[in-house]
Symmetry: C2
Amino acid sequence: MDPKKADIPEEPKSTRDRLIDAAMRLFVENGFEATGVSAILQSAGVRSGSLYYFFKSKEELLIAVLERYVDLLRPVILEPAEAATDDAVERVFALLTRYRSFLEETGCRHGCPIGNLALEISDHHDTARSLVLKNFDNWCAGVEKWLQDAGDRLPRDLDRGELARFVLTVMEGAQMQAKAEKRIEAYDKSVAQLRSYFSCLEQIARTETKS
Amino acid sequence: MDPKKADIPEEPKSTRDRLIDAAMRLFVENGFEATGVSAILQSAGVRSGSLYYFFKSKEELLIAVLERYVDLLRPVILEPAEAATDDAVERVFALLTRYRSFLEETGCRHGCPIGNLALEISDHHDTARSLVLKNFDNWCAGVEKWLQDAGDRLPRDLDRGELARFVLTVMEGAQMQAKAEKRIEAYDKSVAQLRSYFSCLEQIARTETKS
DNA sequence: GTCTATAAGAGGATAGAC
DNA sequence: GTCTATCCTCTTATAGAC
């Protein structure tokens, strides 16, 4: 427990935060379109007057949700992976293990909330789409940093940014299948293949260093 | 042109087929929830009475769409890749090039229709979900066959089925990002990394064969 | 098999009192 | 900032004539 926080009594969440919390949960469970405003209101214990006092539309609430994800990325996703290990490469797999936990805890119903929204909204909600990109970009920047820290454990001419993108690609593709199958198996197998790729890259880097 | 087909005059499509065609197009463009029955009717030039004569609900129409995808997989996806090259490994990348075309032709709005639906419907439409799985499974079975044909070009102890799954993972994750970004770049970079992985595997297989 | 008309309800959003 | 009541549109789906 963070002592700095323990001193401050838990303030009851604001109405606005409760709405964002409820929307975040329902959007990832049911998707944006399939989630009714009334369900959000009920889940947050709020009346419609209040929702439309804070947000001018359901889409604005979605935007607030995606901004919240941007804020949560570092403390909830990246930092735990950095705390898990000092090994630069292992941080990548600690991250993937964390997403695995999200899947397991929910019977493979949730995986990556951003990915789930990305496909649904990218055509018709352009502001939301740009926030999806911001989440993806920040995620990749975090992973790229680790891959740069890996130094000569990876091949010299390997583009760290491209490999970071590839890690996102694998995570998203893998969670999609786990969600569709409601089983973790495809996720694990995909991560195993990614691990195998990393092993190959590290092997190549070792022969480079010798010469 | 297939002469066998050229002899048969193009029969006007049945109402049922027109409905499936229209739904297929609209579901991939806008998603399942965001597509109204009225839009399907208008696009197909059909009245609601006819739709509900053939399908008992919008969900049954979705199921028909997913069954159509099952039927189209071999002729539209797998066979063109097999026709493109006799090289077993290159067939995998011919397949990925074909999905790239789908993305390019639509300004990255469509990629894999199944993947787009998978995340949206997997929670609440269980029959549809099982058809998504059938599409994924058949796709992977096709790719796995090619990887088996590759024989000792791939490492002996490498699980061909697992690698085929990984190809699907990469394709889905890559098209998700291309769709979110409305740019093909992330797709190309992901496929480039997959190519790099295959190169590593082939290199390993070569050293195995020598010994 | 297809048409028109419409039911029945849920959807998002607003008004105005408090 | 929050409440109740409600508007209006759009949604899926049905009824019954042709």
